[in-house]
């Protein structure tokens, strides 16, 4: 009999040598796209998080390589256009991307090389899931992982409009949407995400959200002692917090890290579209259709009578005006 894995608390442990049963499954789903009244799980899994400390990142892209290897994706070989980003953007085959920016600190006059590992933030309140029209194409587990179920994805791109971080990418090959899974398949058997496992400086660490917040505190304290007075944790409340968090040395200016949004939230346009428009729109159309059908069935209608027929005949055949003393 297989042992059931325990939830991971770190990414550095080595995998078990025995086959393990997943510690969470579909019964731990708390939200399903385009599905109302999802039966809530009987247990609450420990919330997980990946913490990315940008101050420790050396931009080696081991995380990208590990991601490609674990997820078996095949990003296209691209042209070198003189920038460090490779590939040029997140793609359906590249779920995470090191974004590089050069920033002149106006206070110190130093040039700072800011490197941010971009990818799905695994929002507690996921905009992609809210926008998705296909039942079951996006799910959220009680440990915080937001996952795309590709069998149910129809490739409409609504998740792109819903996402406050511009993460999902639609494949032109199979027309399905792709993004970071937080390595849900690794996590299920007690392992941390491949990127965190591969990171040589442990700029990427993984564990329970509580642990990660506590770890972030020590990192922030350290950064502050080194003169980064505005160091802080990026766990934006506008999306209910995220299960991928950053330690930023300039947490007061997230925008300098390649346009990391200052206060991300699901756009009010998306909320309005998926809220009142959807509900009221269907009600109005339904009522109008029903009313028109019923009234159409039971009303007498407006029917020409024989006077109309006679008048037309007088006009057309006898060429006299039925109304005007007989003159056309």
């Amino acid at each position: 009999m297989k042992d059931t894995a325990t939830g991971p608390t770190t990414a550095v442990s080595n995998p078990p040598v025995q086959p393990m049963k997943a510690y969470f499954d579909t019964s731990d789903i708390v939200r399903i796209s385009a599905t109302k009244d999802v039966p809530q799980p009987t247990r609450q899994l420990e919330k997980l998080a990946k913490l990315i400390d940008v101050s420790k990142c050396i931009g080696c892209k081991a995380c990208q390589s590990a991601c490609i290897e674990w997820n078996d994706t095949k990003p296209e070989i691209e042209e070198n256009v003189g920038v460090y980003e490779n590939p040029h953007d997140l793609t359906p085959n590249m779920f995470t991307l090191m974004r590089f920016s050069e920033w002149e600190n106006p206070e110190t006059d130093d040039l700072e090389w800011l490197i941010r590992k971009d990818g799905c933030m695994h929002c507690e309140d996921p905009g992609c899931l809210k926008a998705c029209p296909a039942p079951g194409a996006i799910v959220q587990y009680s440990n915080g992982i937001v996952d795309f179920i590709h069998d149910n994805c129809i490739g409409c791109g609504y998740c792109v409009t819903g996402c406050p971080f511009n993460i999902p990418r639609i494949s032109q090959v199979d027309h399905k949407s792709y993004k970071c899974t937080l390595c849900s398949d690794r996590v299920a058997v007690g392992q941390g995400p491949a990127c965190a496992k591969a990171c040589p400086t442990q700029a990427i660490v993984f564990g329970t959200k509580e642990d990660m917040k506590a770890h972030a505190e020590t990192r922030i304290e350290d950064l502050k002692s080194r003169g980064y007075d505005n160091a802080g944790l990026y766990d934006p409340a506008g999306v209910g917090g995220t299960h991928v968090m950053y330690v930023l040395h300039h947490a007061d200016k997230p925008g300098i890290y390649n346009n990391l949004p200052e206060n991300p939230r699901i756009s009010p346009l998306v909320e309005g579209w998926k809220g009142v428009t959807k509900t009221a729109g269907l009600a109005v159309v339904g009522l109008a259709a029903l009313g028109a059908t019923l009234h159409g069935l039971f009303s007498r209608g407006n029917r020409p009578d024989e006077h109309d027929d006679d008048a037309a005949e007088t006009l057309v055949v006898e060429r006299r005006d039925p109304e005007n003393g007989g003159h056309v």
Partner: protein
């Protein structure tokens, strides 16, 4: 060529005299109208399926969600061009005329069927003109916003914030056009004798006299075949 008629199209003519029937739409216009109608219905079904989760099952009619997602915008383009043809044919007689104001202010008599209290009208009444221009505006809005959110071909050209506006406008315009569509079908059924204009292409003389008298007068006045034999 004779000057352009004021209340009718050149091709509208007395079709028969015993009984009197009047040709209202030629075959090409009718076929095109039904292409527009069919695509609009299919677009409504596929669009509603993606609009509200409770109607997602309708994607089954098209062979699943992926095929529905693929087909919906293509049908939209077909509808746009077939409506464009219809627009070119119909816009002139749908321009507002003074009698439309009177007709609209007496909308109560329209609903009660008191035709004798209404002004004589050309080929279209103000209600029909409203449907025509509402369809025109909404189809334009739908095709523009629809192309902007057409993931397969145009996703890379439209920034995400703009797509959010487009997707909301697309949904609102879709709701509006469905209401106009319901009004259009209802009015065509309620006004008995109207449907045959789009099936057989003709209407009875009585229908024309009752609802579109100026149209009938103009056609009758240029009917040079003389009295019935």
């Amino acid at each position: 060529m004779a000057p352009r008629p004021y209340y009718s199209e050149r091709g509208d003519h007395i079709d028969s005299k015993a009984p009197v029937t009047v040709s209202r739409y030629r075959g090409f216009t009718r076929i095109n109208h039904w292409i527009t109608a069919a695509t609009l219905i299919l677009l409504a079904i596929s669009g509603l399926a993606l609009f509200h989760p409770s109607l997602y099952f309708l994607t089954g009619l098209f062979g699943g969600g992926q095929i529905t997602r693929w087909l919906h915008p293509i049908m939209g383009v077909v509808l746009f061009f077939s409506f464009l043809l219809m627009f070119v044919q119909l816009w002139r007689l749908n321009m507002p005329k003074p009698e439309d104001v009177t007709w609209t202010t007496r909308i109560g008599d329209v609903v009660k069927g008191n035709e004798d209290k209404l002004p004589e009208l050309g080929k279209y009444n103000a209600g029909q003109k409203f449907v025509f221009w509402a369809m025109t505006g909404l189809i334009l809005l739908l095709i523009v916003t629809g192309v902007m959110i057409w993931q397969q071909f145009f996703a890379h050209y439209v920034p995400v914030p703009l797509r959010r506006i487009a997707v909301l406008l697309h949904a609102l315009a879709a709701v509006a056009i469905l209401l106009v569509f319901i009004l259009h079908v209802y009015a065509a059924v309620w006004t008995r004798g109207t449907l045959r204009a789009m099936t057989r292409g003709t209407v009875t003389g009585g229908w024309a006299w009752r609802h579109h008298r100026k149209w009938l007068r103009e056609i009758a006045s240029r009917d040079t075949k003389g009295p019935a034999e």
